[in-house]
Structures are given as structure tokens and as C-alpha cells.
Amino acid sequence: MIEFKEVSKCFGQVTALDGVNMSLAEGKIFGLFGPNGAGKSTTLKLAMGLNRPDRGVILVDGKSPLDNKQNMAYLPEVDHLYSWMNLRQAADFMRSFYSDWDDEKYRQLLAFLHLEEEMKLSRISKGQRAKCKLLLVASRQAPYLFLDEPLSGIDVLTRDEIIQALIRDFRPGEQTIIISTHEIREVENLVDEVVFLDNGRVRLRGDAEELRTERGMSLLDIMKEVFRNAN
């Protein structure tokens, strides 16, 4: 379980998160939705222990994120791969770092995503790089998987492949996935629960199916309505 208690974070004059309270139970896929600058990336980085909150407490399974690093896998929005590497070298790099690296899973995903180990990371398309990023992070058995904008700027077919790989791999009840994105339409059918963030605050949270039942609207339309009323 991931808990945020009264968490605030500022970068200089900019308030990225403003008194966020939420608890995310394990075993589900969460959508962290909101426009650019809403605080999505900050939330994931804080949960990973890459940043520290100015105020408040963050707990992952009751412990500080820093004491839980081995349980969390993180796909950053920025391109973090060394471009001089080919995919095999990048995988070796990850394998040497993480004891939960699963070679069989890696092989299966590699084939499923139509990637090849010889691919040089500097010479492949944006979509292929996105698939490589997912492959490298999802080949670990970490119970927590944080994906920051895994679909942004990627063509529709590649998006489908990435979503299929996530569904294929997801272990309900055991694994917790948090996907931050402003492209809600793509993940409407993928998420169990949603957190709508805006200006560093949680505007709405809930079970995706319950929200659809109550409001008779898509998650995208619900978000639009919630933000209209908030501003």
C-alpha cells in the first residue's frame, strides 16, 4: 500500500503538490490523471523516494520509500537510456543492478514487443525506444511499477502494443501499477482506480467502474467536468 499524508512539495516558487492525502491499495492498476503541470511526475518521484516532500509523510508498505527501493520499478518520462548502448547492453546493465530481474520474462516481452537485442538505442524510433523503456522496467518482478507518461507522443499501434504488454504481464492482487498520463482515452479500460490531480491537489479519486456507473460518463469526461467545477 502506498500512503500520502498531507504531502506538499514546492520547487522554488512553484507549488507542485499541495496537501495530498491518498492511499493506494496493492494489486490494482491506478491512473494518475491530470493536465501538464498537475503534479503527476512529482507524485511518482516522491513515491519512488527520488525527491523528498517539504511537508507530510509518504509510506510504501509502512516504510519510507528509500527503504523500499528494491520493490519499486520506475519508468521516467525523460529518456534515461544510454544511447551508445544496444538493447542487450541496456538489459545487462539492469540485470546487474536489480536482483529481481527475470530473464524469462525479459525474453518473452522482447518477442512480444517485436524488439531485437542488437537494436542500438540511438538509432531506433521514438516508439521503439518507448517499448525498450517498458521492456527494461517490466522485466523486473518488483511489486510496484510506476510508469510516467509511457504513451506520450507515440503512434497508435505502438500504444496498443504497450497496453497489451501491460495487461499480459499484470499480476492482479500482487502487483500495483501506477500510470501517469494526460492521455486518458488510451487507458480508459486499463485502470481500476483513478486519481485526478490538478494544481497539486487531488480533485477526485475513485473506482473507475463505480464512477462510470454513478455518472454515466467516460473517465475523460468526468475529469473535464471535475476540473471545470474546480476552476
Binding site: R185, N189, V191, E209, R212, T213
Partner: protein
């Protein structure tokens, strides 16, 4: 199948199976895809599929046998009941929409009869 993102997905999965049963595309004893297969083919969250399958089991529409799969169990009178339930829902929706457009009972009856007549005439023309 394409899901309407404005409605709960698990209900749409159940509705789709019910329609296949009513149309006879699925028969008692037929095996349906496992939850995992369904989630992958339709790109839906596995927890959502699990919810739909659990509800269908609770309604005795299907039965999951460990190690073998999920099988259609419903037939006969029970299937007729499902068919009537679906018809009632369609009618309720139709009546609700017509009322919201300001039509009364007489209007609805007349218009329905006329529309049915037209459909039948079109069908006759084609023959």
C-alpha cells in the same frame, strides 16, 4: 467488441455474453475464453474481467471448473428469463427517452405501431 467508455465495462462484458446466449451463438456446455485470454484480446483490465465472470457465476450463467476453464451453464427457462430481462431494459430505456422528448402513451403506441408497419413493408419489398 468496442466498449462504451461511458458505461461500466464489466456490465458490457456480461451483456455481450448474455446477447450471445440469447442469440444461440453460445450453447450450454460451450467453453468461453479464460479471464486472462479475454483481458488480453479485448485489452481490458484483468480485475474488470474477473468482476464480470464472478457476477456471471453468481447468476449461474457460467461455471468455472478448476484446471478446465469456464463453461456456459444456462439454458431453457433460465435463458428465457435473461431474454425477458434484456427486453425489459431495452423497453425501459426506449420509454424513458420518448417521455423525455415529450411523447405520451398514445403517441408512443401509435408511433411504434407505425414504425413496425414500415419495417414490415420494407421487408416485404425486399422479398
Amino acid at each position: 467488441m468496442v466498449f462504451d467508455t461511458g458505461q461500466p465495462i464489466y456490465r458490457q462484458i456480461m451483456d455481450d455474453y448474455q446477447k450471445q446466449l440469447v442469440r444461440g451463438e453460445l450453447q450450454p456446455g460451450d467453453k468461453i475464453p479464460s479471464q486472462r485470454e479475454y483481458a488480453q484480446t479485448h485489452q481490458v483490465n484483468p480485475n474488470t474481467v474477473q468482476r464480470a465472470y464472478r457476477e456471471m457465476e453468481a447468476m449461474h450463467m457460467v461455471e468455472t471448473i478448476r484446471g478446465q476453464g469456464t463453461f456456459v451453464r444456462v439454458g431453457g427457462a433460465e435463458l428465457q428469463r435473461i431474454r425477458m430481462d434484456m427486453a425489459v431494459k431495452v423497453l425501459e430505456y426506449f420509454i424513458g427517452e420518448m417521455r423525455s422528448l415529450g411523447f405520451n402513451r398514445e403517441d408512443i403506441l401509435q408511433m411504434t405501431a407505425r414504425a413496425l408497419g414500415q419495417k414490415e413493408a420494407e421487408a416485404d419489398d425486399r422479398v
